[in-house]
């Protein structure tokens, strides 16, 4: 009887959440996965089964590979930088430094500013000629820059904004992690004559590994999910130089209405995320120290 009771409880606990999950994630997802094996339906032409043709198109699509490598560069640039910066920010804000409230406020600020509005301000910073960065650069005697307008630098311009947006957010988690470290550990170490670096590397950082895991999971997800700044600032250009995978999916689905290709790309994105997620958990989970 206890077991039956258990099952009833489980049922009630799971049902509300799962109804929503299935309706808005699984069923649509299955539908779209199935769609990746069909051609795009048009009003005048129904879609037809094409097997793996969409995947073949994807494999041969030079733009896809360019976008794919953009994502890798973006991830490699943004994730470590924003995590390291956020850790530094947390350490500073947690210490006795002058002007702490100002620092804390400034670092966290990007999180509360909607990217669709503040992206335009960044557009001003990057504008050649009268933009802030260019004004500084030319007043120092260097030639004018067109960061967002040139293929070599537009991705980096966008990455800078990505880092700016995320670092302060991760700082909060590191702050919480730092403040959860019992001060007596540090005191004990200091009494024994350890210097600041030793304390940081042997005590603080290891104890922060759960936070680092949480933050890095978020950072990876965000690096694939954040495309608002691209929508506002570069629209993926010039010539796909600053396009990320999700932006390419968005463009294929909602600008070109090539829904079959978009779902094919989505399947790739999902697989990629799965691999990274699994990798992360295996690698980092082993290194996490729990108190």
């Amino acid at each position: 009887m206890n077991k039956k009771n258990n099952l009833i409880n489980v049922f009630y606990l799971l049902v509300p959440g799962f109804i929503l999950l299935i309706s808005f994630t699984h069923i649509p997802a299955v539908k779209t996965l199935m769609n990746s094996f069909y051609s795009t339906a048009k009003g005048r032409r129904a879609s037809k089964f094409v097997g793996l043709e969409n995947y073949e198109t994807l494999w041969q699509d030079a733009t896809f590979w360019k976008v794919f490598s953009n994502n890798i560069i973006y991830a490699l640039g943004v994730i470590p930088t924003s995590i390291l910066l956020s850790l530094a920010m947390a350490l500073w804000v947690n210490s006795k430094i002058i002007g702490r409230p100002f620092l804390r406020f400034s670092y966290f600020l990007p999180t509360v500013l909607p990217l669709i509005a503040v992206g335009n301000i960044w557009l001003f910073f990057y504008a050649p000629g009268f933009g802030l960065i260019d004004q500084i650069v030319t007043s120092l005697g260097f030639p004018s820059l067109n960061i967002l307008g040139s293929q070599e630098s537009s991705l980096f311009g966008v990455m800078a904004v990505g880092i700016w947006k995320e670092a302060g957010f991760y700082m909060i988690f590191y702050l919480a992690g730092l403040q959860a470290i019992p001060p007596d550990l540090k005191e004990a170490a200091m009494i024994e004559g350890a210097n600041k670096w030793y304390i940081f590397w042997r005590i603080t950082f290891p104890l922060l590994t759960p936070t680092t895991l949480f933050v890095s999971v978020n950072a990876v997800i965000n690096s694939f999910r954040q495309i608002d700044h691209i929508v506002v600032m570069t629209q993926g250009g010039p010539d796909y130089a600053s396009t990320l995978l999700l932006y390419y999916i968005y463009e294929s689905a909602f600008v070109f209405w090539d829904t079959a290709y978009a779902t094919t790309l989505s399947v790739v994105l999902i697989l990629l995320l799965c691999l990274i997620a699994i990798g992360q958990f295996f690698v980092l989970d082993k290194k996490v120290h729990y108190q």
């Binding site: 606990l13 509300p16 994630t25 509005a117 909060i172 689905a253 989505s266 994105l269």
Partner: protein
């Protein structure tokens, strides 16, 4: 014991921290400058330029921002609370019970972590229409309420809570709901706060799905409202967009300024991780 190295590194620390902060706050500083000066001074940083409130009145008149702000607050609050409730229930089931197909069901939950509702937009739109929920704030939140991320986090946290506490409560006659409310929720506060922050930040900034789902002023959130300034045909009016942004995000700054201590403090009270 202050050595010269210590002294220098301390000074460098302060300088480094401040430089970074100034860099970080630059967009806000620029927004304040552009919003309070006439358009001619958008790119001219002349200290003696005249101040004006025109940009604020102009921005305000272009869209009902007070209402948009209210909508965003209502939407975010509704989503986060629903997530707290739904995800807690599901996470608790996975953390504390055994039942058939448990692993498959959990894999289904994890799948949601990776599949973004934005990609499934056309299908989700059809579902919302079928439910008769077009153009409602509820519809903006519905696809996000059962959050794989939240379930995962909470399950993790719940698992780390000692089982003896349940048993003690059960002996006292508490049912499942009471156990959750009295034992698990208080001990998981830091996770709730952390997750709440992630969620609020995401939904505050969400643009595409609300654009598609909402049609009227009564439901539209801020991001869609502010996008009226992002139009590319006429050229970007930085003064106006700065004024609009400032007016609509000022409440958030103030809230953060007041509550930042509370945020951090709540992490400390439970003291776990």
């Amino acid at each position: 014991m202050k050595t010269i190295a210590n002294f220098l590194s301390e000074r460098l620390n302060v300088i480094g921290a401040w430089l970074l902060a100034l860099l970080w706050v630059m967009p806000l500083l620029y927004a304040i400058w552009a919003a309070t000066h006439p358009i001619e001074y958008e790119a001219n940083f002349d200290i003696f330029a005249p101040l004006t409130t025109y940009n604020f009145t102009n921005a305000w008149s272009q869209a009902p921002f007070a209402r948009y702000l209210l909508n965003t607050v209502m939407m975010t609050t509704m989503i986060v609370i629903s997530q707290f409730i739904l995800c807690t229930f599901v996470a608790f089931a996975f953390a504390r019970f055994e039942f058939p197909f448990k692993n498959i069901l959990f894999a289904m939950v994890l799948l949601q972590l990776l599949i973004m509702p934005d990609i499934l937009i056309v299908e989700n739109y059809k579902t919302i229409r079928f439910l008769g929920l077009m153009d409602t704030i509820l519809a903006i939140g519905l696809p996000y309420m059962a959050s794989g991320f939240g379930i995962f986090l909470l399950r993790q946290t719940f698992k780390s809570i000692p089982k003896e506490l349940d048993d003690a409560a059960r002996i006292d006659g508490a049912g499942v709901l009471r156990i959750i409310w009295n034992v698990y929720v208080p001990l998981s506060m830091p996770t709730f706060v952390a997750y709440g922050l992630v969620s609020i930040s995401f939904h505050w900034n969400n643009f595409l799905w609300p654009l598609i789902i909402t049609n009227s002023v009564e439901t539209r959130p801020l991001t869609v409202g502010l996008s009226i300034f992002s139009m590319s045909e006429a050229g970007v009016e930085w003064a106006t967009i700065s004024a609009g942004t400032l007016m609509t995000t000022a409440p958030l700054f103030i809230a953060f300024l007041i509550f930042q201590r509370q945020f951090i403090a709540s992490f400390m009270t439970a003291g776990i991780k």
